[in-house]
């Protein structure tokens, strides 16, 4: 599978956690997260929780076993159940983590169904070129 480009959008102070956004996901991310204040707020909370090491599976879940290496940001509020499925990679001593936002998805059912299964399996196979945007060069 061809590598996809993704770019850094946020990182913590010591760069031990870096959040990247896939080039394929930025349009949906803009529409469904950035332009919706409540979702954006929750997304920022979750990122801060990640940096402070205080997440719980109701807001951020790293899947084990079947979907190892994938994770979900859960932005559910009221009737909407928007999730951002991601790929995470860690270095050997687990001191650095890169989380790449891969797909924004509105989940309809409580359990992971066929659609989610397909997304997560695709994420597992996906590899990325990690990039940083330098504002001076734009």
């Amino acid at each position: 599978m061809a590598k996809k480009d993704c770019f850094l959008i946020s990182n913590n102070q010591d760069n031990s956690i870096e959040i990247y956004l896939s080039i394929d996901a930025y349009v949906d991310f803009g529409k469904q997260v950035l332009r919706q204040q409540s979702k954006l707020k929750k997304f920022r909370y979750i990122i801060e929780c990640l940096y402070r090491g205080i997440t719980n599976p109701d807001i951020y879940e790293e899947y084990k076993k079947k979907y190892l290496g994938t994770a979900a940001f859960k932005l559910n509020k009221g009737n909407t159940n928007v999730r951002i499925y991601c790929k995470y990679v860690q270095n050997e001593d687990k001191t650095q983590k890169r989380i790449t936002l891969h797909k924004v998805h509105s989940k309809r059912r409580q359990k992971l169904g066929n659609i989610e299964d397909g997304i997560l399996k695709a994420i597992q196979k996906q590899e990325y070129n990690y990039g940083k945007i330098d504002s001076k060069t734009i």
């Binding site: 770019f7 929750k42 909370y45 719980n56 599976p57 109701d58 807001i59 559910n76 509020k77 945007i133």
Partner: protein, 155 residues
């Protein structure tokens, strides 16, 4: 990469660097305090094999309300925090972050506790997690030494 896309990524990046005003900071930190507490409760529940329904019953609320708290869609009040602490059989305290960090750093350096607690506990052994309790005592002792207060451990 096209310049227009690069600009949009730069805009996205800038959102996370935006300065919050006082009201936003308060709201943000309130939510973070709630998540910090919920994260502790969640770990304790896991250790004890406690389900959300059990917690809801012990606290006297619905499981749905507990879910809302865990999701960050509702904020817990102090009574709920106290009730949750009682439900998981743990007392919580509020200390500044720098005190916690200093305690964590020194926790690794301090020698084994000179207090021979093990004999006391082995008699009746009412605690399942003795080693953790012993570590907690070390931290408390160290924290109190730092603050020049009397020891809490009854010898």
């Amino acid at each position: 990469m096209e310049k227009s896309i690069a600009k949009q990524f730069e805009q996205i990046k800038s959102i996370f660097k935006e300065d919050k005003n006082f009201k936003e900071k308060v709201e943000f930190e309130t939510q973070m305090l709630a998540f910090t507490f919920i994260s502790e409760i969640e770990q304790l529940m896991e250790e004890k094999g406690m389900k959300r329904k059990d917690l809801a019953e012990a606290v006297g609320t619905s499981a749905g309300y507990i879910t809302q708290l865990f999701r960050g869609n509702k904020l817990p009040n102090l009574s709920i925090l106290a009730a949750m602490g009682i439900a998981v059989n743990k007392q919580f305290n509020i200390v500044p972050v720098d005190s916690l960090e200093s305690a964590r750093n020194q926790k690794q350096q301090i020698p084994e506790s000179p207090y021979n607690l093990s004999n006391e506990f082995e008699k009746g052994n009412p605690f399942n997690d003795f080693n953790k309790l012993k570590k907690d005592c070390n931290v408390i002792k160290m924290y109190e030494t730092n603050h020049k207060s009397k020891s809490c451990v009854n010898e």
